[in-house]
Amino acid sequence: MSGDSLLPLAVVASSFVPGLAIFFLAESRHRLRSTLNLFGAFAKLALIGYILWGVLHDREFVFTHEVLPGLDLVLKADALAMLFVTLSAVLWLFTTVYAIGYLEGSPHRSRFFGFFSVCVTATVGVAMAGNLFTFFLFYELLTLSTYPLVVHRGTEQALRAGHVYLAYTLAGGAVLLVGTVWLYGIAGQVDFVTGGVLDHLPAESAPALRIIFLLLIVGLGVKAALVPLHGWLPKAMVAPAPVSSLLHAVAVVKAGAFGIVRVVYEVYGVEFAHTLALLAPLALAAAITIVWGSLRALFQDDLKKRLAYSTVSQVSYIVLGTALFGPVGTIGGVVHLVHQGIMKITLFFCAGNFAETLGIHKVSEMDGVGRRMPWTTLAFSIGAFGMIGVPPLAGFISKWYLGLGALEAGIPWVLAVLAASSLLNAAYFLPILYRAWFKEPPAAWPHEHIRARRYWETSRLLLLPPLVTAAATLLVGLFAASSWTPLDWAKLIAAREYLRWVP
């Protein structure tokens, strides 16, 4: 087995091995633990950098291992995989830094960081999965590794949320499994191949393929929080902030959305899916989710819950882009995979900072927080404006392409959905910004844990990550047209998926 075929495995292992090591560390070894974490994060980035360079030079990175006769575990580095892997690895680095700051002095950190690393491993595996079985494997690993993170605090509320989370995700996993096995039964090994692998099947399997599509989407839709399968997400907000950040920006919901992208483009093939008339219902489901999520967000006073409902809505932009038949819509969906991640993680980092520094958990407690914590509030503002879709931020790029894609696909009502959603986004974000910047601060904050020291409004490890990701939100929007940006990759991917496309 050559080095190149082992590289994808190494990318996965670069978080798994440190994770395992961390499990066995004594609670007090925080320096070694942090070193291991950061070493893993940087090693992963280095490996990814090397693979990106190799992909550019037409090298193939595929790891194959036979698990059962006719069933292979395949990890490979294709364009779509690299997009998601890079996003995960970069955001993992920031989240790790943030989490080290956030959990300073709290109990059970070895367990936390252990599962945290496994969770990232699962995400990277989901990204690099080369066939549906491998995808399923890491998808379920993700469920298992996030459960301990959700219930980390061990409170009654956390355990209840954990139950709900498990009930949803395991049931979703079961449905996904049935769909996967069925598809393997019909089509043999279901590899992810650009353009899809099913269009050669005989016509009489079309009804079965439709049912399988439904099973797969329902299974994936649980994690992607498609309405009405989204019930677990707001409840899971009891988890510590770094967990929420990662869950929302990269790991869980994104794994679901990414899975939908894979299924539509690389299993069914977008053109074949269109032929089977599967895309329009998917677009409708996404549209309903977008509007419903935004509406519910409007009525949440709890800051993290508001953000959670915002996630429900925003992740479906990806699904919507996927369901719009035409390369432009695809670009919108795929690029939002990255953009939503960057923006949402910024918002969650900031929400965590407010809670950790001043004890603010509710929107109604945020009056004047911009004066006490200007940098965090600035980062939060950039994220919020990005979500609303204000140019030239990342969110604007996504929405622009989605809108154009809708026109191209000939579904103009999607434009209305986008407009309504943006208005709702504004309606639930702008009041927060208004309170934070323009209202008078109260005499005392709810619970001030960390006092300001000179230039640092809060702990350094907490402040830097959101600032960096906020800057990224700005930069990927501003320089969207240059090469090596998410948009550039999204265009590359879209160009490959539409093999027979004649606009």
Partner: protein, 485 residues
């Protein structure tokens, strides 16, 4: 002639008998080291036998130099070797576990080593035997060893459980023996090889098959004949529970596979297979539900065995009267489930034992604080749970995958519903334990430590269940090479 001196198949039977006898002579509470050497050698023998079968295929060994039907033959094929490997690789870590366990808690361990030696010899002999009457003797050997081990816990519940177990196992082997008698009467031989071309749908043969099947169902504790299992497996000392749940019930299941898909294949009907499948489905649902309702940790794990046994029996409807592809899938899935359950259930009982040693009680509510104090053991329990839930990557998942594939291939979607429901229910009972263990220990209660050896051996078994999921192709290839079916 010298070539036979190192015949691994013969030594797999002789060796455990020898160390069991020696351990008996050594006396109560002794023989651990001897047994461990024996178990280690047994693992090597099983691997060597597997290598031979892989390279040379299946072969038979006429005992005493008398070929069947006059004499008794040992048949070494893929299926037998896979089961022998399972026994050897589960028994070795369990042996290490037991030594540490009885070091910490000597109660019930006085005659553990000779009894478990005979138990393992009986398993190996059963897996190798190709003679219906000899199989009866091995079944009795196995049953009495298992009952003796169960009773060793010594308290009232354990003795009652052992008696119930003994009566059930005697009734089961009695029914089997009667079947053997009918077969001998009909054909004049009990050699499987000699019978294979003769079997026809005589009334006496059908009755014999029915009696043998019912006997084996009773011994494997298939719902609704499972009544004896939970008190016995839940009431025995932990190393014994692990042995019983992981290995002993697999023996009668193996025998059933051998008969149903072997000599009796010409007369096995789809209707009967569906009936067995329905019982299996009942076991999955009923066992899981009752597991969820238990308040004692080991009873929960024992009921989980009742449920997991159900999956084993889905092989019968999924592989009887279906297309060859579906049949192969189901067959492989059933054996994979047997292997995965052996590793996972041994790990789970071992982990439960470690928790009981640490907390000093067997109630689930008493597990608060275990997560903080015994993270490794909790992790082991969770890993074993992953296999039982059938989540990837694990042997349990591979089994479920193959069984699902068979169900879809043969268009029997109703078993899919059962399997999925069972998976979710098993998640419910596994997480019931994990959830409790995650809770902080209430003030005043002290969770002690468990010996490191207990934790590590349990972990090794649980990891085995996971590795089986990643390297499942190897045992299945062995199964194929040895012409298991």
């Amino acid at each position: 002639m010298m070539t036979m001196v190192f015949d691994p198949a013969s030594w797999l039977i002789l060796l455990p008998l020898a160390w069991a006898t020696l351990a008996f002579v050594l006396g109560a509470g002794r023989g651990a080291r001897l047994a461990l050497v024996g178990l280690g050698a047994q693992a090597l023998l099983a691997l060597e036998l597997a290598r031979r079968v892989r390279d040379q295929g299946a072969h038979a060994h006429a005992l005493g130099g008398w070929p069947a039907p006059l004499g008794i033959e040992l048949a070494v094929d893929g299926l037998a070797v896979v089961m022998l490997l399972m026994t050897a690789l589960v028994a070795l870590p369990l042996g290490l576990y037991a030594r540490a366990y009885f070091g910490a808690k000597p109660k019930g361990g006085a005659w553990f080593w000779p009894l478990s030696g005979f138990l393992i010899a009986a398993l190996n002999a059963l897996f190798l035997s190709a003679d219906l009457f000899n199989l009866y003797v091995t079944l009795e050997l196995l049953g009495l060893a298992a009952v003796g081990l169960t009773a060793a816990a010594g308290d009232r519940m354990a003795v009652a459980a052992a008696l119930r177990y003994l009566l059930a196992t005697l009734l089961g082997s009695g029914a089997y023996l009667f079947g053997v008698a009918l077969i001998y009467g009909t054909y004049g031989t009990v050699s499987l090889a000699a019978l294979a071309p003769l079997i026809s749908a005589e009334p006496a043969v059908l009755l014999a098959l029915a009696l043998m099947v019912i006997g084996m169902l009773l011994k494997t504790a298939l719902f609704p004949l499972h009544f004896w299992l939970p008190p016995a497996h839940g009431g025995a000392v932990s190393p014994v529970s692990a042995l019983l749940s992981a290995l002993v019930i697999k023996a009668s299941f193996y025998l059933l596979l051998r008969l149903w898909f072997g000599v009796f294949e010409p007369v096995a009907t789809v209707g009967a297979a569906q009936l067995i499948g329905i019982l299996g489905a009942g076991a999955i649902l009923w066992g899981s539900l009752l597991a969820l309702l238990q308040t004692r940790l080991k009873m929960l794990v024992a009921y989980s065995t009742v449920a997991q046994v159900g999956y084993l029996f889905l092989v019968f409807p999924l592989a009887t009267g279906v297309s060859p592809e579906a049949g192969v899938s189901a067959w492989q899935g059933g054996i994979m489930q047997a292997l995965a359950h052996a590793l996972a259930k041994a790990a789970m009982f071992a982990a439960a034992g470690a928790m009981i040693v640490a907390t000093g009680r067997d109630e689930i509510v008493g597990l608060s604080g275990v997560g903080a104090r015994l993270p490794l053991t909790l992790f082991t329990f969770a890993l074993a749970g992953v296999t039982l839930m059938g989540l990837p990557p694990s042997g349990g998942f591979s089994a479920k995958w193959l069984l699902l594939m068979a169900a879809l291939d043969s268009g029997q979607w109703w078993w899919i519903v059962v399997m999925m429901l069972g998976g979710l229910l098993s998640a419910a009972y596994v997480f019931k334990v994990l959830r409790q263990a995650f809770l902080p220990a209430p003030g005043g209660s002290a969770v002690g430590r468990a010996p490191r050896a207990l934790e590590l051996t349990a972990l090794a078994l649980a990891l085995g269940g996971i590795l089986l999921g990643l390297f499942g192709a190897q045992p299945l290839a062995l199964l194929e090479a040895g012409g298991g079916r």
